[in-house]
């Protein structure tokens, strides 16, 4: 259990960082609308979502407890 928590703790940290990257609090207002097709900040948010998704896939595929272990 504790080992499982530790391994999940690592990716949780990465997930949270990525979520914060997606939050464009810091984006300079005068450059926010630059960018091809959609604003630059929206591209950053989309990229962060992609990264978040990949991290979650990675997290889903590892660190699961033994199904038959004692509770």
């Amino acid at each position: 259990m504790s080992q499982h928590l530790k391994s999940r703790g690592r990716w949780l940290l990465l997930v949270l960082i990525t979520v914060f990257i997606g939050v464009p609090w810091y984006w300079p207002g005068d450059r926010a609308l630059e960018g091809w097709l959609i604003p630059a900040w929206a591209w950053v948010a989309l990229g962060a979502a992609w990264l978040l998704s990949m991290l979650v896939v990675w997290g889903a595929m590892r660190g699961w407890p033994d199904e038959d272990a004692d509770g």
């Binding site: 464009p24 609308l33 989309l46 978040l52 889903a60």
Partner: protein
Amino acid sequence: MMQGLPLAPWSLGFVAVYLFSLLAIGWFARSRRRDDTLGDYYLGGRTMGLWVLMLTLFATQYSGNALFGFTGQAYRVGFTWLSILHSMIAVVAGYLLFAPQLYRLSKQQQFVTPSDYIDFRFPSRALGVLVVLCLSVVLINYVLAQLKVMGHIVEGLSGGRVDAVWGVVALALIMLVYSSLGGLRSVAWTDAIQGAMMLAGFVLIAVIVQRDMGGWVAAFTELREVAPEKLQPPTGRAAITWFSTVILIGVGASVYPQAIQRIYAARSAATLQKSLAGMAVLPLFAVVVVLALGFVAIARYPGLEGSAADQVMALIMRDLLATGWLGHAVVTLLLSAILAALMSTADSALLALSSIFAKDVYRKYLRPDASDSACTRAGQWLAWGVLGILIWISTLEDLTLYRLFVLKFEILLQIAPAFYLGINFTSLSSRSILLGLCAGLTTAIVGWSAGSMPLGLHPGTLGLMANVLVVVASHYVLPPAQPAAGRGEGLP
């Protein structure tokens, strides 16, 4: 919400045949039932495979809200609604924090309802009753939201010839018959079919917008000229609201009662793992297409205010119909999938409500000696009764879809610490979780009633903060509680 669509007779015929084929699925699911146990009826015998599990989880998270509510909100608030994309991925991240352990416990202890876990981990009668009440309110709200959309769609499909109420009654009857026949098997199989149809519809709709409706580049270029204010990044309060939305939906949706039951229903841990991995990728496509449609609609259909913005998807469908046979086919496919999605989301919630009544109320308080089949029958009767009342209420309420969507999260979010913290922090007591739940619910409900969002935070998120704060404070400040003997307190 949905004005009459000029559908060809063959389109209406396809939708009708599809809806009635759901009854055949229900009948087939009934033939696959192994016994009369609650686990077989409410969890499909705990044998759900990879694709069905992934698509039923997908269908549980994306329903009428996804197509009508999400596009409507994208239209109303613009690009700051990109937060919903992060939120839907965060739902899966949330699952990963408790689903592995919860799945293992559910196999060992044969859980059927979310409350079974609560009773096992936190053996407190007061907490159990409060959780059942909260889950019931949330599930009723969930069904109500689906019924409202169903009525509007039938009214639109028939060009106003069929009243919304009768449309809801007809669809609810189909839904009740197939879900009563096969339980979760019927619901999950119909979910899987509609989930696949919806994904196919998203692919085709993206192609048609590009090919026959002027293209995405032109649409976004027009948007930048017509409504640049809708492209602004969130700043100040709006940035905090972005964060609050990710928490509200990411954490709240991961503890949907019907989703928890799908975790229990997985055939194996490996099946659940792969399904969740797939679920993490689907929003990148499904949500992005839905959002893009809402954004380009800002320039295409200007002037829609408030709940009128929920019509955006219907307006897009009208334009798709004008593009030719492919557009017609896509709208037919999408409408069938949307109706099925609404029905399956509603019956998933209804099935969860029925199971909670059967196991956590009927057997626990009314007839402790009742057999599994008697409990199942009691749950089915409750489902029919509740649905009848909700059909009536659905004709009275006048809330926008998004408001209905948020309301359930305000409450659901307060249950989350029992799962997230209860699974991962083994020394937490029932008392801490109960105190936290009371504090969270009070904060969320008072905030929601006042209609305010201090600092841009949703009342539910504020409630969750108060909830966790009280849990932690009571755990460290109050003297240790007397442990209850023989159950799961202190597990795993």
